[in-house]
Symmetry: C2
Subunit: 402 residues, 2 copies
């Protein structure tokens, strides 16, 4: 029995298909587009199987043959992944959906699915010998990378907009990250890193500026499918800002299909955006392969505030190829979604995930999902960090002084 | 093969040893002291084994034979438990401890270990036919019970002190719980429930007012031992307010020892308290079997603000019988503990858990723990909800306007 940990083969440009070796630090293709990781799937079949994976520890590294880290000793882990897939019977009954599930990602460190990309990306950066990393972020991703950089003892610089939420700022600082605010958008933070990275010797790990974060995200989909007994659901709803999770899901579907581990029709990938920032919905309605920059982007769900996703063409391809769709909901509907799943199922979600709860109603009414279909919602994170977003009604004070 | 789910036998008074049947709703013994659950351990041995448990789903219900719920259909679950046991190599190196681990409980819904007690207690309340439940809380436990009550569709009333943290208030409300503040302490909330419970038809689920929450807490210890390959560590550090987790750990040790599943010396149970509220430390130093009420209790770690633990004699017995101890740290040391594990290991803990990080140094200096001993810290929760406690230094703002 071979001891090989990963079946990684090479990097391939998502646009021009140029191929690069995997043993060197590299951000994007020479053509400027994102690189994706390719594996030797025949080798994967020889190394493992669903039956074999079943007995492994319950974290995302159980799929290590399909992840890019070559040696297990380079894995930087905080127990991420293998989050619960919970049936939503009460909510399903209310919505008229008899096979509704949520993949609850609040169980990861930092309380969001961002931990997966950070664990994978930081591990690979460490394996490739990166000395320092830097990231432009709206908050949650930077926080996750700060956590894994601390765990992996790699210095990190995090730059986020001045109006970013308070908790990610506090947490980055608490991790010992060099944390800065910028009087601009995430795109300005990105430009700042681009401009200074040579001098500062930073490896830029901003969204899709490196190929490995997407691989970590892929494990959400592997887990959903394993938890459903290696079968596909009918549709998956994603709260969608940058959209990497959707691109990653599509890549995961194809890998599992090519391995012969799952058969049948691919699930429809459904992107749920904020009405105040819906570039993918606009592109979808126009049947366009790419997005236009969404001007005046605004939403309380900071994770959904991405006016022009860097990998828009990958996300849209995933949606089109799976007969999926993109739609948007208002901030009020998101918060009502959070309240609704709280009242019915006892979960406290972030507004981004609340958007998917809100979208269920619309999808059902427009008959875009059917009553008996197996539907999975990506519950991308818990609401615990969103103290400033959830307004608390004044509670009654009981008087015991008499 | 029998289908029996639980080997529950009866309830026994922790003080007078009077025995009660398990098929009726009951709070405490007629003598007023807490009841504990007893199992038929011979039956457990016939029903399952460590090898058998290994292949079960990664949540706390994998130990169902040693939990009180008789039928699996009554289990109210949000995926709680089987949290990661993470090695702390960087921090251990700094402290001179080569075998240091943390049980990271931030992965549960609500971000704390309270989920376990609530899942177990609410499930059993449902099984016994409770129509409504009520709880007096400092915040986190009430929040956890509100989540599981919503999931289990049982109406709940939560009463907490007026100065409770903001997030538990927001979350209880978001779960649809009847949530009240009280102009007094947690003990006043308890008295209010006591006074009104008959009229309101409330089943009182406040700490140790029912026997089942402790059983859920027990699973933390089962998991630590399973994750260490069914061996005992040398010592376990607990952030300690009410102390149920310590009483539960001792009960878990004895059950596993009697089953013959683990051999060797019991781990030393170490209670870490806040200097501003340290009744167990005072009792320990005085070699007393019970605590005195700690007047003027104050600490930023709300979970440690319990001036007179209801089950003090059980906690102190667990400490004495295992050659453990109780000590306290200041609020400043706790917050420094949170910062330290953040900088070294990438985890963001609540101040309560930070107290254990702070205590390591003292224990090491006083030679109460040895360099090569296997030490486990209970990381009782994440810091995500503590926005008001962690003061953020002003971050540098980068100017891109020029």
């Amino acid at each position: 029995m071979t001891e090989k940990y990963s079946a990684i083969k090479n990097l391939e440009c998502s646009s021009c298909n140029r191929v690069y070796p995997v043993n060197q630090i590299r951000n994007t293709c020479n053509c400027g587009q994102p690189l994706v990781v390719r594996y030797d799937l025949e080798e994967v079949k020889q190394l493992t199987s669903p039956q074999n994976i079943r007995s492994r520890a319950p974290n995302m590294w159980r799929y290590h043959e399909l992840l890019p880290v070559s040696q297990s000793k380079h894995v930087v882990s905080l127990g991420e992944g293998f989050s619960p897939l919970l049936p939503l019977k009460n909510l399903g009954l209310e919505c008229g959906l008899s096979n509704l599930f949520i993949k609850y990602e609040g169980s990861n460190v930092g309380g969001t699915f961002k931990a997966r990309g950070a664990s994978c990306g930081l591990s690979k950066a460490k394996e490739l010998g990166a000395k320092k990393v830097a990231i432009a972020t709206n908050g949650n991703a930077g926080e996750a990378w700060a956590m894994y950089a601390s765990r992996g003892s790699i210095p990190i610089t995090v730059i986020m907009p001045k109006d970013a939420q308070k908790m990610p700022q506090i947490i980055c600082n608490s991790m010992g990250a060099s944390t800065y605010l910028i009087n601009g958008m995430i795109s300005d933070a990105g430009k700042f890193i681009e401009k200074n990275k040579l001098e500062e010797e930073w490896f830029d790990v901003s969204t899709l500026k490196e190929p490995y974060r997407l691989e970590g995200k892929k494990t959400i989909t592997f887990e959903i499918i394993e938890q459903l007994g290696w079968t596909f659901p009918d549709a998956v709803l994603f709260p969608t800002g940058g959209g990497i999770a959707i691109a990653a899901a599509y890549k995961a579907f194809l890998e599992l299909q090519q391995l012969g581990w799952v058969k049948g029709k691919l699930p429809r990938l459904i992107a749920v955006q904020a009405q105040g920032c819906a570039p993918l919905e606009h592109a979808f309605l126009a049947k366009s392969p790419t997005t236009d920059f969404f001007h005046g982007a605004h939403t309380k769900a900071s994770g959904l505030r991405v006016p022009k996703p860097f990998c828009d063409f990958m996300v849209l391809e995933a949606i089109y190829k799976t007969q999926g769709l993109a739609l948007s909901v208002s901030d009020e509907e998101m918060l009502e979604g959070v309240r609704r799943i709280g009242h019915k199922e006892g979960l406290f979600l972030c507004p981004e995930a609340g958007a998917c709860i809100a979208a269920l109603q619309t999808l059902k009414e427009r008959q875009l999902i059917e009553p008996h279909e197996k539907i999975v919602i990506l519950g991308s994170g818990s609401g615990l960090k969103y103290q400033d977003v959830f307004v608390q009604n004044e509670l009654t004070v009981l008087d015991v002084s008499e």
